[in-house]
Amino acid sequence: MPSSTSSSRERPVEGPWGLTWALAALLIAGLLGGLEMRLRDQDYSPSTSIDNELWSAQRHKVYWPDKTPVVLVGASRISAGFSPRAFNSEFSGYRAIMLARAGKAPAATLIDLAEDEDFKEGVVVVSMLAEHMVKRRRNDQRSVVKAYGELTENYGFINHFANRQIQAHIEDTFAFRSPHVDLEAWLDAERGVEDAEFPKPNYVRAHADTSRSLDYSKKNVKVHRNKRIRKHRKNLRKHKPAKPKRWLKGTRFLEEAIDQLIDRGIEVVLVRYPTCGKFYELDEEHYPRKKYWDRFAKKTRAKTIHFEDYEALRGYECPDSSHLNFEDVPEFTRALGGVMAELGVIEVD
C-alpha cells in the first residue's frame, strides 16, 4: 500500500540552484576566511584536543603495513619535543606514531605494546625520566590504554577512528574549529559586551598526529618557568627517590616489557630528553645520572640515548627549563633520528 502522505519531490523548489550554491560558497569562504584571519591576527592558533579516541586512532597505526612504525612513548617532553612530520619527511621508510601523553609516565603504554603480539615490527622510542621509572607511576597511562581496548571491541571502530582523524586535521588547520578557542567568549568580547574579555591564546598547540607544539612567545616565560620549577621541586620532595640499588630493582617491570619487545624483534630506544637550568639541577640532585640513568643503561637490553652524550642533541634551549620551544623541534627531531641511525636502530636511504 503506498503511503497516503506527500513527499518533497512533489513540490520541487525551482530556481537558479547553481548560482544559489555558488553565492553561498562565496559567502561562506568570505565569512569564515575573515573570521580565521581575525583570530590569527590576535595570536590564536589551530589546535585539536588529544582525547582517547584520537590517541587510539594513532595507536592503531602500529599495524599499518606500508611503513615501519616508530612508536613514540613518553610524557610531555617527547610529545612536545618530537615532530612526526619532520621525522617522516627525513626518514621516508618510517612512520612516526606519537603515543606520548603529557603529564603521565609512559609505563602502561610500553607494557601494552609489549603484550600486544600483533605488534611485530618496528621501533619503540621511550622518553623517560628516572622519576617515571617507578612502580607508583606504572598506571599513569592505563586509562587511555584501556579506552583503546574498549573502543576496538566494537567492530565499527575504523569508522570512528577515521572520523576522529579527519576532525583532528580540520581542527589542526582552522583556528575557528579549535576546541581551545572559545568562540562564544571571543564573540562577546569582539562585540564589546560588558565584562567580556578575549580568551587568552593558548601556547600549546595539539596536532592531529597527537604531537604538540609549545610556543613560549605566548607565555610570560619567567613566571611560567618559576612555576614549573616550583612544581618539580614539590614533586621531588613529596616522592623521595629510592636508593639507587632499590630503584634499579624496581625497574624490573620495565625491563620485562623491553625484553618482550626485543624478543619479538622490535628495537627499543630509551631517550633522556633535554631539560635545562634549575630543572636539570633538581633532577641531578635527586636522581644523579651516574647512580640512576647510567646504571639502568648498563643493565637494559634497549639502546639508550642521553642528550648530554651527543653533540647534536646538546645545547637546545628549554624556555620553561623542561621542554623545547616549537621552533627547535624539527631540527632536534632530525638530530635524534640521526643518532638513532648511528646506533643502527633505523636505516637511512
Binding site: 500500500m1 502522505t5 530556481g15 540552484w17 561562506i28
Partner: protein, 474 residues
C-alpha cells in the same frame, strides 16, 4: 555512520560521484546497495547478517505467500514473517525489558528472582527496517502489491542508507517502482536536496545538540525537586531538541535521497502548530503514525466499530507505538498519554462540533495541544518513572522555584534555549498551513544563498560533540 560525521561527507561524495557517472542504472543500483551495507557496517559489521536475514526471509515468504491459493497456507506464511521480524525485535529490543519486568512481578508477589542481564546490543535501525519488511509482506498478503521481481531492488528498498537507521519508514509501493527506471536528475532536485541536508544538519548540530540538549540534560540527568521554571525550561528545551534532532535526521534523509534521485515521504509538518492530537499525529513522525494506522489501527477495526471499541483500538495503537520507541515503562506511559489525549479529543469533538468555526479558539486549542504534548515528553525523556513524576511535580509548581534567577540547572544558557524554542514554535505557527518547499519557493534565490551560508557557517564553527541521533536507540 551518522550524517553529522566527517566520514559521511566523504562517503556521500563518493556515492554521488558514482550516481552521476555514466554507468548503467543496474550498476548504479548495485553500487547503492553495497554502499548501504557499508554505511550500516560502519556501525557494527556483524549486524549486517541480521539485516540480510530479515531481507531474505521476507523476500521468499512474500513470493510463496503470493503464489499460494490456500488461505490457511497464506496465513501461516504471514505469521512466519510476523514471527521472524517481531521475534528479532522481541529478542534484541525487549528481551532485557521483559526479564526485568518479570523479575519485578515476582518480587511484587513476594518471590525472589534475579535474572542475569542479557547484555544484548540493540542493532541500530532494527525497529525501522523490520517495519519496512513487514509492510511489504502484509501488502503482498492483502494482494495490494505483487512480489517484486528483482531481489536487488528489494534489498535496496530495505537497506537504502538515507532512511535505513532512523526512517522515514518507507513503503515498498512507494519505493520499488522508483527502481524500475533511473529518475533523470534535475538541478533543482540536487540543489534543494543539498539544502535540505544542510538544514537538517543545522537543526541537529547547532539547535538540538549545541543549544537545546545541554538545558534538557541539565534537568533530566538527575532531577531533584526541580522548581517551576527549571522543570518547564528543561522540558521545553527537550521538546525542541527531540524535534530538531529527529526532523533534522528526516530532512537529511530526504535531501540525500533526493540528490540520488529517490523520493522519500515527508516525516514532519510543523508539528508544534498542531491543533488537537489527531492533527499532531498527522504532523509528527508521519511515516510511523501512518504505518500504525494502516497496519494496526485499521485492521483492529479502527473507528468503524462501536465507540468503546474505537477507544480501545486507539489506546492499543498508541501503547504499542509507545513501546515501539523503547523498552521501558516510561515509553508505554507516553504512548498511553497520547492514546488518552486522542480518546478525549474524540469524545469532546463529538459534543463541540458547533465550536469548530470559532477562530479565536484555534490558537487556544493549539496552545493546549502543545502544553499537553510537552507534558507527555517528560515520560519520553525521563530515564526513570520517579524522575518523571518529580519533574511533573515541578511543572505543576509543587516544588517552589518561581524565581527565574534561581536555577538548579547550572551553567547552561537557558535564555538562548528559550529564544530558539519560541522562534521554532512561532515558525511552526506561521507555516502551519503551508510547506517548507512553499516557504522556500517564495524566497528570492540570493536570500536562499544567504540562509544556506549562515546555516553552514554556524555548522562549521559549532564544536560538534558527535552526539548520535536520538532515534538511533529506537
Amino acid at each position: 555512520m551518522i550524517f553529522n560525521s566527517y566520514t559521511f561527507i566523504v562517503f556521500l561524495a563518493v556515492v554521488l560521484a558514482v550516481r552521476y557517472s555514466r554507468r548503467s542504472w543496474r550498476t548504479k543500483k548495485m553500487f547503492l546497495l553495497v554502499a548501504s551495507y557499508l554505511f550500516y557496517a560502519a556501525w557494527n559489521p556483524p549486524f549486517v547478517l541480521l539485516l540480510w536475514g530479515s531481507t531474505i526471509a521476507d523476500w521468499f515468504i512474500a513470493k510463496r505467500l503470493f503464489k499460494s491459493t490456500s488461505q490457511r497456507q497464506r496465513k501461516t506464511m504471514l505469521f512466519a514473517s510476523l514471527g521472524i521480524n517481531l521475534g528479532l525485535l522481541a529478542y534484541f529490543k525487549y528481551g532485557d525489558f521483559a526479564l526485568r519486568s518479570f523479575a519485578n512481578v515476582v518480587s511484587w508477589m513476594g518471590g525472589s528472582y534475579e535474572p542475569a542481564p542479557l547484555d544484548v546490543i540493540l542493532p541500530v535501525g532494527i525497529s525501522f527496517y523490520t517495519f519496512q519488511t513487514l509492510s511489504y509482506t502484509i501488502d503482498v498478503y492483502r494482494r495490494e502489491l505483487e512480489p517484486w521481481d528483482n531481489f536487488g531492488d528489494y534489498a535496496l528498498y530495505v537497506t537504502f542508507f538515507p532512511q535505513l537507521v532512523a526512517g522515514p519508514i518507507v513503503r515498498a509501493a512507494d519505493f520499488l517502482p522508483q527502481c524500475r527506471e533511473p529518475h533523470p536528475l534535475r538541478r533543482s532536485e540536487v540543489g534543494w536536496g543539498l539544502t535540505l541536508l544542510a538544514l537538517g544538519l543545522f537543526e541537529k548540530v547547532v539547535l538540538a545538540d549545541h543549544i537545546l540538549a545541554p538545558v534538557a540534560d541539565a534537568l533530566y540527568t538527575e532531577p531533584s525537586s526541580p522548581g517551576f521554571y527549571d522543570a518547564w525550561v528543561g522540558t521545553l528545551a527537550f521538546a525542541g531538541q527531540i524535534f530538531c534532532d529527529f526532523a533534522g535526521y528526516s530532512l537529511c534523509a530526504i535531501g540525500v535521497a533526493m540528490c540520488l534521485g529517490f523520493e522519500i515521504i515527508d516525516n514532519f509538518r510543523f508539528p508544534y502548530a498542531a491543533v488537537g492530537f489527531s492533527d499532531f499525529w498527522r504532523r509528527w513522525h508521519i511515516s510511523l503514525s501512518t504505518w500504525l494506522r494502516d497496519y494496526l489501527y485499521i485492521p483492529l477495526g479502527g473507528n468503524r466499530v462501536s465507540l468503546p471499541r474505537t477507544y480501545v483500538n486507539l489506546m492499543l495503537t498508541m501503547l504499542i507505538g509507545g513501546l515501539w520507541h523503547g523498552a521501558a515503562w516510561t515509553f508505554v506511559i507516553w504512548g498511553g498519554l497520547h492514546g488518552s489525549y486522542l480518546a478525549i479529543e474524540r469524545a469532546v469533538r463529538a459534543h463541540t462540533k458547533r465550536l469548530a468555526g470559532v477562530r479565536w479558539l484555534t490558537p487556544l486549542a493549539g496552545l493546549g495541544t502543545f502544553v499537553a504534548v510537552c507534558f507527555a515528553w517528560v515520560f519520553f525523556r525521563a530515564t526513570e518513572f520517579s524522575f518523571a513524576t518529580d519533574i511533573c511535580a515541578g511543572m505543576a509548581g509543587i516544588h517552589a522555584g518561581f524565581d527565574w534567577e534561581t536555577t538548579a540547572l547550572g551553567e547552561v544558557d537557558r535564555g538562548r534555549a528559550m529564544v530558539v524554542m519560541a522562534a521554532l514554535v512561532g515558525m511552526h505557527w506561521v507555516l502551519r498551513k503551508t510547506t517548507l518547499e512553499d516557504a522556500a519557493s517564495k524566497l528570492p534565490w540570493w536570500l536562499r544563498s544567504v540562509a544556506i551560508a549562515l546555516m553552514l557557517c554556524a555548522l562549521f564553527i559549532t564544536k560538534d560533540e558527535g552526539r548520535a541521533f536520538i532515534y538511533f536507540q529506537f
